[in-house]
Symmetry: C2
Subunit: 160 residues, 2 copies
């Protein structure tokens, strides 16, 4: 799960400060996307930190980072690069695939529920039939016992 409610905020803030940690190399051609750009929220969520924050308490003794670069600087891949577009396009394809899959799964679940409900009704009916039939036979046997308790012997384990 990825709660983008948080990451979007970060992202928005990052977008407000181009040339920070990653992307947005100063290429004037296409300033694509820029997520929301609502009335500029001048509130850098300094309290919202990324994974680096959570890692801050971990034991680094076993890591022995060679360079120990501060904000990680993920190879500023930044927009409109061919690699960026390639990655995006691949992800877009994956997203479509995943959503198609989800749609099919949901549809199947709905159909299964429908089918189970129908089958359920049939089973209920069957139980009704069997119960009635059973009652009839039991009644017959009880009548026999009333009339001739000596003769109706084989009733052995008939109690069930």
């Amino acid at each position: 799960m990825s709660d983008s409610r948080v990451s979007s905020v970060i992202q928005e803030w990052v977008s407000s400060y181009p040339g920070q940690t990653h992307s947005q190399t100063l290429n004037p051609v296409a300033p694509h996307h820029q997520p929301t750009s609502r009335p500029p929220t001048a509130t850098p969520p300094s309290f919202l930190l990324t994974r680096a924050h959570l890692c801050s308490r971990q034991d680094f003794s076993s890591f022995l980072l060679p360079t120990l670069r501060a904000p990680v600087t993920k190879r500023s891949i930044s927009k409109d690069s061919a690699e960026y577009r390639l990655r995006r396009e691949k992800n877009n394809i994956a997203v479509r695939k995943s959503r198609d899959k989800a749609r099919r799964r949901i549809l199947l679940t709905q159909q299964r529920a429908q089918q189970l409900q129908e089958e359920n009704q049939k089973l209920q009916m069957r139980i009704g039939q069997l119960t009635q039939e059973l009652d009839t036979l039991k009644h017959i046997l009880s009548q026999q016992h009333l009339q001739g308790p000596d003769e109706g012997p084989a009733a052995a384990g008939a109690a069930i």
Copy 2:
């Protein structure tokens, strides 16, 4: 259903020609969104026409439009306007609401399917029990018929 595969193309084309039918007033501040901005598809889909196209053959005599504006020109509301942001924010809220609703619906369907399946198994078991019980009673009665065919059936009460 809104096949955005098509509308996205239109949208992309429109974005390539700012100041066309709507939006994108020449405000240099925020060039927001700009959907895909992949290698600019220089292919104006002139064959893709909107609703106005379909209406072109209709009978307007009963309408008597007062002004009869040509391409409708939807009040170029164009980005970064306060009204635009307001609309967007409202829609975003509606979208979140709708998706929450969808998620809940899906979850309920899954739970219902699960529940129905369990109930189904119980019903199957019940049918098994009843069937066996019935077989036993039938067997008892058949034995009685073999032993004393004259006495047994009288108990049925069916005989006049």
